[in-house]
Symmetry: C2
Subunit: 247 residues, 2 copies
């Protein structure tokens, strides 16, 4: 068996999420079926992390063990051939050692959240960005985001159905940038709670709208209660953009 | 009657093109139906130019005469409400004088062509960019493009079914830029022949692949024969990005 690290791009729109589920098509299932068809035996795909229904990935990472001697380029092309009918692309396949584990070896995960603020609905970016009709103060959002950087109990930013053992996480960076009518929020951490990025973005959007201050964000964090923080931003603005591993 | 200038964004994928046609849904028809429903009378929409089936617009321009006293913002919101089921958005509606004509008053049209070069198919940018599996030399394309700038007989870059009276056009600028695996070709002119931008991009792609030289492009132009130039790049990489009018 040879282990391969797969770097995967997908449009999350038609999927119930990364993880296999009973209630609809998942990205994991599509890649497992492609790999199983390629290898003529059942293959399991291990992802670096789950993404919710509708969340996109520019560079999700997964690993697979394949009972064939093909090189990375051939694995990539073969999987893409089998994935032709799905909005999923294997951008890279590299042979790695058996110690490599997509989830447990990861040392950093990067997410990007795209917001477009304008009166008109989105025609080209529909299902690719969160549409808000009023402008956001990106500067104020950036300022308020500093409250969330570092090691904290993120209970207020955690989905009630989150299965993580602890609500304590360390956020390394949150940057908010503006370009024309687009606001991008980038968040980096070793790992995240369920809905954590979307809840952070939903809360920062209140600051951007001028309804909340930096102090309100600090208070919401301190309350350790999901209802104290802002709404969950929609899935379709979120992109998993990078998963990092030790060199 | 009040005349409005409309700035329009659309995803060209589901349309037979800008112009009304018998064989399928057009962007013009969708906006005419929206305006007619809003005004309860038949409204004609005049576009700055036709875009082919599958071609996108970030800022197509059109004008309409409306028998209502509403201001621009209300017109924009009303049309968008009627366009909700289509990937078309009225980004702006401004009242203009009766002398304004979307097509005849235009003094410049800008197009952008997006190419992504990588082995893996496109998952997020499918139908939004031309996918080529081999890298392009953007520098060489940029160099060769200079041959096409200025006033020329563009017969070699004109669709055989083009209805323009003359094949002579003046191209003001062609820029080719590269960022990662994406190559963008931007073209500016007062007006274009049918398929002119797509034929220019298809020809420059031969230069980018190393199959053609700048001299080959000059020769193709001089031959005044469509078959002397390169292929027509696919519609889905092309965006009408701006139409300019006198201040």
């Amino acid at each position: 068996m040879l282990r391969f690290k797969l770097t995967i791009e997908y449009d999350g729109t038609p999927f119930v999420g990364w993880q296999r589920q009973e209630n609809g098509p998942s990205v994991q299932q599509a890649i497992e079926e492609a790999a199983s068809a390629y290898c003529q035996t059942e293959i399991v795909v291990h992802g670096a992390g789950r993404t919710d229904a509708g969340v996109h990935a520019k560079a999700q990472v997964a690993h697979v063990d394949l009972p064939r001697g093909d090189g990375g380029d051939k694995v990539r092309d073969a999987l893409n051939a089998h994935l032709r009918s799905s909005p999923i692309a294997i951008v890279q396949a590299e042979q790695v050692s058996e110690e490599f584990h997509a989830r447990f070896s990861a040392i950093k995960r990067h997410y990007l959240y795209r917001i477009v603020t304008r009166r008109a609905p989105l025609a080209l970016d529909i299902k690719r960005a969160w549409w808000l009709t009023k402008p956001l103060d990106a500067e104020a959002m950036s300022q308020a985001a500093r409250v969330l950087i570092g090691k904290h109990d993120f209970t207020s930013f955690r989905a009630t159905e989150c299965q993580a053992k602890t609500p304590v996480k360390t956020i390394d960076a949150i940057t908010v940038t503006q370009s024309g009518d687009e606001v991008e929020v980038s968040v980096k951490a070793l790992s995240f709670l369920h809905h954590q990025v979307r809840n952070i973005v939903g809360t920062l959007s209140l600051v951007g709208e001028g309804k909340w201050t930096e102090g309100d964000v600090a208070k919401a964090l301190a309350e350790k209660d999901r209802s104290a923080a802002g709404p969950t931003a929609p899935a379709h603005g979120l992109y998993l953009t990078e998963v990092r591993y030790p060199a």
